[in-house]
């Protein structure tokens, strides 16, 4: 199993390197049209062919992967920070604040996430610039995706609050804010780290679902979500199977994340 995990780590490292270096690796900018070659088959010039607008599919895949793979961790960081603030404080302070925070978490967890995401996304303007759509999509993922992490972090903070070293620090007269920042938060680091890494594949899949529904990142900026919309034309996909590459890459990356970070999550929990 360790060998499989190693392969997954290498694959993730290669994919991240390729998307970070997309400006150098991609043969063309993601929006550049080769009007003489729409729907072209793979060739030396276009490794994955072109789409129906004549844009290089390999370049779009690289840039789209960059959007999804860089912004999903950013959204995961945001949600982990929110969860750390709410869950960490709730677990540390206890009492009515913990009860109120857990009630809010339960309410948030009982609601199917995609419904909430769609409702809040629709409340914001839909026809916006691509960069704004990227920001809104991933900011929403981060802001709305904290609840399950919050619950785990809360129980972790509660366990630390009841531990001997915290009781001793309190007995020695350590002020509460110092105790929280110097003792509780550093000891929550394994839980926070596990929540961060496990949130990334969840956000990647959520963005893909939003993108397929036309509520994610707007064209011409590519992301895995809007690249997957190309699969809606099945006869075309059947005739040119290389168009399945975005879904193959997404499944491979999400599976690798799960393989690599499942053990970390188990250890933290």
């Amino acid at each position: 199993m360790n060998r499989i995990r190693l392969v997954a780590v290498v694959f993730l490292a290669l994919t991240f390197s390729a998307v970070l270096l997309a400006d150098f690796v991609a043969p063309a900018p993601y929006a550049k049209q080769f009007r003489e070659a729409p729907n072209a088959a793979p060739s030396a010039k276009h490794l994955l062919g072109t789409d129906d607008l004549g844009r290089d599919a390999f370049s779009r895949l690289l840039y789209g992967s960059r959007v999804s793979l860089l912004l999903a961790p950013a959204a995961a960081l945001l949600s982990t920070l929110i969860a750390a603030c709410i869950g960490g404080l709730a677990g540390y302070l206890g009492g009515w604040f913990e009860r109120a925070a857990l009630a809010a978490t339960d309410l948030s967890l009982s609601l199917p996430w995609l419904f909430l995401l769609l409702t809040v996304r629709a409340l914001l303007p839909l026809n916006i610039a691509p960069i704004a759509s990227v920001t809104i999509t991933f900011a929403l993922l981060g802001v709305l995706g904290w609840s399950s992490s919050g619950r785990v972090i809360c129980s972790g903070a509660r366990a630390i609050r009841q531990s001997d070293f915290v009781l001793q620090a309190q007995a020695l007269g350590c002020p509460p804010h110092r105790l929280f920042f110097k003792q509780v938060l550093p000891n929550l680091q394994p839980v926070l780290s596990a929540q961060f890494w496990t949130s990334i594949p969840i956000f990647i899949i959520a963005e893909a679902n939003l993108g397929v529904l036309g509520l994610g990142v707007s064209e011409p900026l590519p992301s895995w979500g809007n690249l997957l919309r190309g699969l809606e034309n099945w006869p075309e996909v059947k005739a040119s199977p290389w168009k399945l590459m975005p879904i193959v890459l997404l499944v491979a990356v999400v599976s690798c994340f799960q393989l690599v970070f499942q053990k970390r999550e188990n250890l933290a929990s």
Partner: protein, 288 residues
């Protein structure tokens, strides 16, 4: 014991309806473009007519008056009017909710059958090939967005409930397998094996009763998962349920529909979670 928990669950549901309604009304009230009437752009209208139009929306601008109106309507069963479909929201719900409830029920049942019965052999046997196969299969389906599963089902000609089942099954499999394995390694279960009790009897009398509370909790969560998956699947499969309605409403910014759908789904999933909680409480007895 579970009877004592019943009022608490009812109170939680009532509070959710109240708070959810208030939250929904606030979201609608604060959304960009609220209270703007497109008819104001009509060049044929005079200044007085435009002013009259604005005055007709004036009561809605007071956030508290708007709350009160929304809540009174909510308790009378008036869920508002869909701006994109030009029909009462309650009428749309009456048409579409049974469709979604049916597909979600079938999807959850099929997902549980598949997930649970793939997890069950893990406590009897230690076949490496089986573990690799089931882990690979659940890993593959957990990595696929629900919309892509829906798309696959459209091309394969399968029902929407099957796509929901394929979303639910890998989560059920992974959690159920862990829960069952934990139960199977409890000291009294090992002692029962050591005393020569038949494996089937050990599982039925000792492993499953111990795992039951957690499995019931998982059942509650799987309802929420299924409703979440219903949106992209119904939208892609062109299935006339609540999921498709939500997607259409989101694309056309039909806020009355969206807010009421969110509230309705919250109530359904909370009710499912409360039921699973009550079942967990009823089964949570030491069986040593």
């Amino acid at each position: 014991m579970w009877l004592r928990a019943l009022p608490k669950h009812f109170l939680r549901l009532a509070l959710t309806i109240l708070l959810g309604g208030l939250l929904g009304a606030t979201l609608v009230r604060l959304a960009p473009g609220f209270g703007v009437d497109e008819r104001e752009l009509d060049t044929r209208l005079s200044t007085q007519s435009i002013e009259a139009l604005r005055q007709s929306h004036a009561p809605q601008n007071n956030i508290f008056a708007y709350y009160r109106g929304y809540l009174v309507g909510l308790f009378r069963g008036d869920l508002g009017f869909s701006t994109s479909l030009a029909r009462p929201v309650s009428e749309l719900f009456a048409e579409r909710l049974p469709v979604t409830l049916r597909s979600v029920a079938v999807g959850v049942a099929a997902g549980w059958l598949l997930g649970f019965f793939l997890a069950l052999p893990s406590i009897f046997f230690r076949w490496k090939a089986y573990e690799v196969f089931t882990a690979g299969l659940s890993g593959l389906f957990i990595s696929l967005p629900a919309a892509i599963l829906g798309l696959g089902l459209v091309y394969a000609g399968g029902p929407a409930s099957l796509a929901i089942a394929l979303v639910v099954f890998p989560r059920v499999f992974q959690y159920a397998r862990n829960i069952l394995l934990q139960s199977a390694h409890l000291p009294h279960v090992l002692a029962a094996h050591a005393r020569g009790l038949h494996s089937t009897r050990v599982v039925l009398c000792h492993v499953l009763p111990n795992a039951a509370p957690l499995l019931f909790a998982l059942a509650g969560i799987s309802v929420s998962m299924a409703f979440g998956a219903a949106i992209p699947i119904e939208a892609i499969c062109d299935y006339p349920g609540i999921g498709q309605l939500t997607w259409q409403a989101a694309l056309s910014r039909d806020l009355p529909v969206l807010v009421n759908v969110t509230l309705l789904i919250t109530i359904i999933t909370l009710a499912a979670n409360s039921l699973s909680d009550l079942a967990s409480t009823a089964f949570a007895r030491p069986r040593l």
